[in-house]
């Protein structure tokens, strides 16, 4: 029988892989993919608690808002990455150091 714990374990694995991607990738677009993995893992948790919890829809409503935030986030983040690429000719985050004093 598949219970809440199974979904929580999948979500934890997805979250850790997202953290790994954010920490180890140099390419900004790849870091964004890691952030998407993290948001998806949070969504799995919300929907799983909505299913196995008290039996209302609040978790799914929250998940809809998380998807909205993710769409807004990726649009603005890609705009920043494109501006950075135009300025420095690189998509790598560790070369974006022009704010350094």
């Amino acid at each position: 029988m598949i219970g809440l714990h199974h979904y929580l374990a999948v979500s934890a694995a997805l979250f850790s892989l997202g953290i790994l991607g954010v920490l180890t990738r140099r390419n900004a677009v790849n870091v964004l993919m890691g952030i998407e993995l993290i948001l998806n893992s949070a969504n799995i948790n919300l929907v799983a608690f909505s299913r196995f919890g008290p039996g209302n829809l609040q978790g799914q409503l929250f998940a809809v808002f998380v998807i909205v935030i993710a769409a807004a986030e990726v649009a603005v983040a890609l705009a920043i990455v494109l501006t950075l690429y135009r300025l420095r000719r690189t998509p790598n985050l560790d070369e974006a150091d022009i704010l350094k004093g």
């Binding site: 979250f15 892989l17 677009v29 964004l32 993995l37 929907v47 608690f49 909505s50 935030i69 993710a70």
Partner: protein, 166 residues
């Protein structure tokens, strides 16, 4: 094993396996296409959890919107003749230590906690009820989300415009 649990394990394996490819692949294009399968796997998990509306939304917005946007990002931040599209990995060992430590802690906490598991939601269509909630008790957050999307749209267009364009 019941058929339901077999389906769960298949979707979980698709999700986690392609997420690992997203994180570990050498090529950005491989990462982007593995992300497609991760989103599909998550949508399958939503279906298993009885969230039919959310599964459709996941496919429409993540696969149709966010993934295409990320692919545009990949294409626009590389020179056209640069076909290999490599993405370098830095500080892999410390990152792996942190991520696996985090995974261990989260799984331990999730397994040990006595969650308040209630009666659970019956498996029934959710779309009508979600619409009713958005037009009722959640109207203010709903409108705030629409304003956020408008601000993000205008902000993204403002940020990428060239200096000097009015």
């Amino acid at each position: 094993m019941t058929p339901g649990s077999v389906v769960f394990y298949v979707f979980a394996a698709i999700t986690v396996g392609s997420a690992a490819v997203v994180v570990l692949a050498r090529s950005l294009i491989y990462s982007a296409f593995a992300l497609l399968f991760t989103f599909f796997g998550v949508a399958g998990l939503y279906v298993l959890l009885g969230a039919d509306f959310l599964a459709a939304t996941q496919l429409l917005i993540y696969v149709g919107g966010i993934l295409v946007l990320l692919l545009f990002g990949v294409m626009l931040t590389h020179k056209l003749y640069d076909l290999d599209l490599k993405s370098e990995v830095t500080q892999f060992v410390p990152g792996l230590v942190i991520a696996s430590g985090l995974f261990a802690v989260v799984v331990l906490v999730a397994m040990r906690t006595q969650w308040a598991v209630g009666s659970g939601r019956p498996l029934e269509p959710t779309t009508a009820e979600i619409g009713r909630q958005f037009m009722g008790p959640y109207l203010l957050p709903f409108e705030a989300a629409s304003i956020l999307l408008l601000v993000a749209l205008i902000g993204a267009a403002m940020i990428v415009r060239r200096r000097g364009d009015a």
